[in-house]
Amino acid sequence: MSDCCPLPKGPPSQSPGTGRWLAATAAGLVVWGALYWQLQPAASWIVARLPLVPGSRTADAVAFFLYDTPKVLMLLGLVVFAMGVIRSWFSADRTRRLLAGRRTGVGNVAAALLGIVTPFCSCSAVPLFIGFVSAGVPLGVTFSFLIAAPMINEVALGLLFGLVGWKVALAYLGFGLGVAITAGIVIGRCHLDGWLQPWVREIRMTASDVPGQRMTLVDRLEAGVDAVRDIVGKVWLWVIAGIAVGALIHGYAPADLLATVMGRSAWWSVPAAVLVGIPLYSNAAGIIPVVEALLSKGAAIGTVLAFMMAVTALSLPEIVILRKVLTGRLIAVFIGVVALGILAVGYLFNFAFAS
């Protein structure tokens, strides 16, 4: 939720220069790849030249830090760039038009998927909510969007992919969608429209037609670069701090301690992780490197993912903002349904990845 997302939009550039941009992008990707494959040897090379005892705890921690920091930042940059380009095709107003009048089910699936690619910022949550509901997007469908948008973001996906691996990143994506769709359907079935704040129910607005700004390919690539500058510029310090903590856990935390507290055999660890995660204000950037280190020390994957989802999908600041449009009862239902969904994912994961 910390990644507010001002993607600049504008009229098409006057000078085309498309060829130059394409060439620069291709060259950038080649350089990226070349650097990426050199990271491991480079890190080993540096560690071997430091006055450290090979195989010692300190050497392990330093090697982890030196290899993971550039690796994670590079992968994060790539994912954020790709997401920035993809998002240039979407806007909240376009998503609203796509979702208006959709039925429960199909609408929830579409809303959750659009939640991934629509530029969204928690400070926009209220206008977005009112905009959706008053334009005829069903309440449950709106919730599917509101759950998926902050939970499945490029920072979380990029870091999971970089640190823990593509399988877990895909699983997070899939189960995150599952929670958003199911919770939205449940809330929709309950017919809770009467639980909105009274002034919200009275608004019957007509959607404005914001003049469609036609974007060229160059504009879209530029949007990707802007996203990288904006998001990576904002979170890189957190990533490094997180990796430093992760490196300490790697080097020094006793393996069996975490396995007892956060391992698969401790059934209560999933609800505990969700309870701890809800009030925490998300910073996926700082948390995921720690998460990776916990995993390597025997914490169960489901417990850790439940924790991450609770942190990103339910955050206190967003709840405070939404309180302006939802009654307390509806907020309680929202938190309850989403927390239950996350709990289910946690247990399912611990079960599925049992080895």
Binding site: L7, K9, D93, S124, I130, G131, W199, S208, V325
Partner: protein, 78 residues
């Protein structure tokens, strides 16, 4: 005198948008009155679902994200 309204809850991007419009208007020597609308019901009345929104002489020209300087110039010029 161009009448410009910036719609938004007062988040960082909304403030930056208002500042950008002021800077561009000064640079081009165009007289503007910029008003920030932070009331959610009023924002909803303009029919946008992402902020910041920009309204020039009663017409919504932008919704969501920091606009580009070139786009601001176009709104001010017409």
């Amino acid at each position: 005198m161009k009448d410009i309204k910036v719609l938004g809850s007062g988040c960082r991007t909304c403030v930056a948008t208002a500042d950008l419009i002021k800077t561009e208007a000064d640079r081009l020597g165009i007289a503007v009155s910029i008003e920030k609308i932070t009331d959610y019901a009023a924002i909803a009345g303009y029919g946008i679902s992402s902020t910041p929104g920009v309204v020039v002489d009663g017409k919504v020209v932008h919704a969501g994200g920091l606009p580009k300087a070139a786009a601001v110039d176009t709104w001010l010029a017409t």
